[in-house]
Amino acid sequence: MTLLSVKDLRVTFDTEAGVVEAVRGVSFSLGRERLGIVGESGSGKTMTGRSVLRLIRPPGRIDAAEMVFDGQDLMKASEREMRALRGQRIAMVMQDPKYSLNPVMQVGAQLMEGLRQRDRLGGAEAKKKAIAALEAVQIRDPERVMAAYPHELSGGMGQRVMIAMMLIPNPDLLIADEPTSALDVTVQAEVLSILDGLVRDRGMGLIFISHDLRLVARFCDRVLVMYKGKIVEELAARDLLAAKHPYTQGLLNCLPRIGGDRGPLPGLDRTADWARA
């Protein structure tokens, strides 16, 4: 059963310096499974993920031959229809909770916002659900976290809040864009296992974006490898070691390093045929 089908997706930026093609004809489809997207920094992973929510800011532009979510044509949907999908059916966990949570709003208010504004729940009921969501991401003192402001939380804590917030409406599809890249290595595994457990339990589709091929292989069924806005290879996670593409092999050989996004891969031959065009 196909949940999301994307054909020939393109994201273009008309900048003063000229036209930048961030995504150049990406096609994939996804059921209630876990799809990984890997690639070096700047390869267009984030733009691909955000296109699905139609959240590319101008001057960015989205074009696609097809982008269908559960029978609904996302390219033709009105802004109102998109809003009904966002949060409710498609959600996204972003990279760094330090920036992705509103700094001047209490965590509780941000958690309950969807419940109160969209679902029109009363305060007590919304609070109960928010607390349950925090408990689901293994936060032990939800009351205190609800009253806190984002800057009072650690990175790992902030990302759990983000995951809890995005999972409250029980979406069908979750896009996780480098959900642990900004975290301390010590908490990365913990946050990942929480995310993985929830996605499995609730049987939702997952697009897991990362620059770390091994990580993606561990958490996903299928992997797309992106380079310069294109998919250069698609393979089942278990076949990873048999990857044929030199770029994928390059990603595999690149030992994991501590810290966030890596720059372009060193020691990779970019003069070969695949790297052109």
Partner: protein
């Protein structure tokens, strides 16, 4: 519990910090005005006793004014008196400076407050409109209107405004805070609780007088409000653009929040943090800098009081008025600081 006590300590430290900075600032202000008062080539005794006074008369005046004491003593007497609300006697009128100042300051405060309110009401939405549609017609209009506010010849526009809206069209009241008839009534029939006519007449339920005061204040306040709006709209635009580019905005959109809420709740709450400082600055600027407007509109505010005093070298009046403006400035700063902490949890 641990969190609570630390919060309490934080509050206490904050209040203490405020008190200390207030005292230090006012002390410094008094020092400066004291020094100016001694340095200017105006003999305070001569202006009191006149040019044909005898040596004995001059000496008596010196003692009466405390000028025979050492400078540091004079300064402490000055500070001591000031903290008790005694800013000396006006040479020109022989009236205590504090009395004149408390009469004139409310007029300035009222004008600056209305102008600031107008500036915020017009400037914030204009800035938001421009920020959410960068490069659009609306954006260009807002920027042009803002630019004009910067280079606006207040004097000229004030006169033209009076000529057209008062002289020709008769839509607004003329110079002064009230029509002559109401001026008398205000003095005799309305309890002057605040010295601000709009408030006093509202408290007394004298809506006829209130309406008349509005018709008088609308033109000068509109003019100053325009200047304030120019600054506020420009800053709002840039703050809002900056906030709309942040990741938490994307989060709100991912959650399916409508654009109205994204802008006016999520972004605006963050815009408020720097905007408070901008509004306070613009307010302070109007409190101390509306002399020209007060002159054109015969507005009996502190600005025109100080200017008139300066013309006749009435130094106690000039310096006393300056001290009051300075205190207002410090108070405004404190309020904006408090508000700042209120809207930004990171600053607490």
């Amino acid at each position: 519990m641990a969190m609570n006590t630390s919060l309490l300590n934080g509050r206490l430290r904050m209040v203490l910090g405020f008190v200390v900075s207030l005292v230090v600032t006012i002390f410094g202000l008094l020092l400066v005005t004291f020094i100016i008062g001694r340095v200017v080539p105006i003999d305070p005794i001569l202006s009191i006793v006149g040019e044909r006074a005898t040596q004995a008369q001059i000496e008596a005046a010196r003692v009466a004014l405390g000028l025979d004491k050492p400078l540091w003593q004079q300064f402490f007497i000055y500070v001591f008196n000031a903290f008790q609300g005694d800013l000396g006697m006006s040479i020109r009128t022989g009236e205590p400076v504090i009395d004149a100042v408390t009469r004139h300051f409310p007029a300035t405060l009222e004008l600056a407050t209305i102008a600031t309110i107008l500036g915020v009401i017009a400037g914030v939405p204009a800035g938001v409109l421009a920020a959410t549609r960068p490069g659009s017609m609306a954006d260009h209009v807002v920027r042009l209107v803002g630019l004009m506010g910067y280079s606006m010849p207040v004097f000229w526009l004030g006169l033209i405004g009076l000529l057209v809206f008062y002289g020709q069209l008769g839509w607004v009241g003329g110079p002064g805070r009230l029509d002559a008839m109401y001026d008398m009534m205000y003095d005799f029939e309305v309890p002057q609780r605040t010295g601000m006519i709009l408030l006093d007449t509202a408290f007394a339920g004298r809506w006829d007088m209130f309406a008349n005061a509005i018709s008088h204040i609308i033109l000068p306040a509109g003019l100053l409000g325009y200047v304030s709006m120019a600054y506020i709209s420009r800053m709002t635009r840039s703050f809002m653009m900056n906030e709309l580019g942040q990741e938490y905005i994307t989060t709100a959109r991912v959650k399916g929040m409508p654009e109205r809420r994204v802008i006016w709740v999520h972004a605006m709450r963050n815009v408020l943090v720097p905007l408070i400082t901008v509004v306070a600055l613009s307010y302070a600027y109007l409190l101390e800098g509306s002399v020209l407007t007060e002159t054109i509109f015969a507005w009996p505010g502190l600005g025109s009081y100080i200017t008139d005093a300066l013309m006749v070298a009435d130094m106690p009046a000039v310096l006393g008025g300056t001290v009051v403006v300075g205190v207002a400035f410090v108070a405004l700063n404190m309020v904006s600081d408090l508000l700042y902490r209120l809207v930004d949890p990171r600053a607490r």
